[in-house]
Amino acid sequence: MTARPIIELRNLSKSFGAVQALRGIDATIREGEFFSLLGPSGCGKTTLLRMIAGFEAPSGGSIVIDGKPMDGIPANHRPTNMVFQSYAIFPHLSVAGNVGYGLKRKKLSRAEIAAEVEAALEKVDLAGYGSRAAHELSGGQRQRVALARALVMRPKVVLLDEPLSALDKKLREQMQVELRALQQSLGITFILVTHDQEEALIMSDRIAVMFDGQIAQMASPEELYRTPRTRRVASFIGVMNFLPARMKGESPEGIEIDIPALGSARIPRDRVPEGLRPERIESIGIRPEMLTILFDEANSAEREAEGQVVANSYYGDMTYYDVRLAGQEAQVTISMRNTAGRSVARPGTTVRVGWGAESVVLFD
């Protein structure tokens, strides 16, 4: 994507008293992008969002929105609108009163406001709900009203603070898809704060993973999942098997590594992350779905290892196996799609584990 930057964060930091909530945040968010701030609670992601919105003043660094520095500009003069975690629906106003709240300031006639409000409600599938009272709405509807209230302001950026965390699983999954579709059709930049890695992966164009007030990695969902830069990022996003490993040798084509539990492999240069010094490699990571259990004698993989099933978890479409690798303390999780005519391997079964060098992620 080569769209122009809409938000630039430069060396941003924030402290609350002695506590440093954020430090050295550098990021550029592009116009029309769905950008997620992902991290465990207390990592500073909400603080960062609130600083962009103008509710918190940075302790250092700068925020530029749409080319304008935001130093000292209060929230009510910023081209951003927020969907709050609690939705913050005004209880004394109707749905239309809530959605039209911000329009009263703009010089619009009553009829124009009503038309804008109805159009916004239509966008979030709540056409005709304008006269409902705030307390008559369900959780999902409140979330939609909050979204309509932000969209009607035609902001440059919509900020979403864990907007789906209060919804039940089914509704949440539905809203993830709807929100993503709405964002794409409107082309407005969305910044989402979430602690749910799956949600971030499904919805985002790019994700910034945050730990302890810093951005650990910023990348597309696919890149983040396939090549996490640190063990911490790797274990936060999805499931990752970690195995000890050492560099054996280096050649122009790649790095030879020895993984005691699996064998050795040559990792091509382009899979070696920038800044990683090969002699400092301590472990490798491999995703559960990148390992296979070779059930059939005829099946074979690029590389094979022997192991014993320790436990299995049956999910219907998938089965997760915990497999102890032969001669090692190492244990890995392997996910296998269930197929017709193949029963789930019981604990104690000896199996052949297939793997490939291209799915190995290196960590120092």
């Binding site: 103008g54 509710f55 009510n76 209880p91 004394h92 911000g102 209230r149």
Partner: protein, 289 residues
């Protein structure tokens, strides 16, 4: 009507029955007695129990009672408006700007209650009197040449004393209403373009309305019927309807007329309270607790 109660209802009734009994004996029965008295006639030491509307004719017809009731209402409304207007900033400050030791602040607000009401009224006499604290201070500072007389033994003194006495009763309900406001609503208003002033009138005040209405009623209703303060600091000019009711029951020995006056002022206050309540509901919009 057959009385069928679920166990839960029976349990509830049992729980409230002591209170209910107490309320019936101490509240409903006296009220009923006063209402009944108001339709009787006093003949020196005896009571004529034939029902009559004469007392109400007197209570509503004679100018002295109208003047006293009107004055009581006027003083009470001024006290209420002043108290609520002064209480709101205090409650607002407590709720929004006091971060630490809120409990201590609330505690301090109740300090005036530690002395008796009577004592507090007397203290105001000491402060406002001809040779009182205020006058001597102003005289010594050279700000006035002779003691101010408009501050004691008139309606002003009653207003001042009552407003001070009822301030905590106004601060607390407003404080509670402000505390209940979800702070993210204020951020949402700001996010949608409101500055602090617009936000206050569009979100904070409407949502604090239940507290403001409660404070208004809590101050308005008892102050109409107050008789200690007007007696002690009001002079002749500050006499209120309750003083007249007291006189009728006591010195004048005309309990039925006193009762009629009491019922009249009660109905007037009830009507005003209802208006305040409904107005508050309108202003506060469709707030659901």
């Amino acid at each position: 009507m057959a009385l069928k109660l679920s166990s839960q209802e029976r349990q509830g009734l049992t729980l409230i029955s002591p209170t209910l009994l107490y309320a019936l004996v101490m509240l409903a029965a006296p009220l009923l007695m006063v209402a009944t008295f108001s339709f009787w006639t006093q003949n020196y030491l005896e009571i004529d129990r034939t029902l009559t509307l004469d007392n109400y004719r007197a209570a509503w017809g004679e100018p002295i009672y109208q003047v006293l009731l009107a004055r009581s209402l006027r003083i009470s409304v001024i006290v209420t408006v002043a108290t609520v207007l002064l209480a709101f900033p205090v409650a607002y400050f407590l709720s929004f700007h006091v971060k630490k030791r809120k409990a201590l602040w609330l505690f301090l607000i109740t300090v005036p209650f530690w002395t008796s009401y009577l004592l507090r009224v007397f203290l105001w006499k000491v402060i406002l009197g001809y040779n009182g604290v205020l006058n001597s201070a102003l005289l010594n500072l050279g700000l006035i040449d002779e003691p101010l007389t408009f501050i004691l033994y008139n309606a002003n003194a009653v207003v001042l004393t009552l407003a001070h006495a009822w301030a905590p009763f106004a601060i607390l309900p407003i404080f509670v209403a402000l505390e209940k406001i979800d702070r993210s609503l204020l951020e949402a208003a700001e996010d949608l373009g409101d500055g602090p002033v617009r936000r206050f009138f569009r979100v904070t005040l409407p949502l604090a309305m239940p507290g403001v209405v409660a404070a208004t009623l809590i101050v308005l209703i008892p102050t109409v019927g107050d008789f200690i303060t007007p007696k002690l600091v009001g002079g002749t000019d500050g006499l209120m309807i309750a003083n007249m009711i007291q006189i009728q029951f006591g010195k004048a020995n005309n309990a039925p007329l006193g009762a009629a006056l009491a019922v009249t002022s009660m109905l007037t206050v009830a009507a005003i309270s209802l208006i305040v309540f409904l107005a508050g509901r309108r202003l506060g919009g469709r707030v659901k607790p």
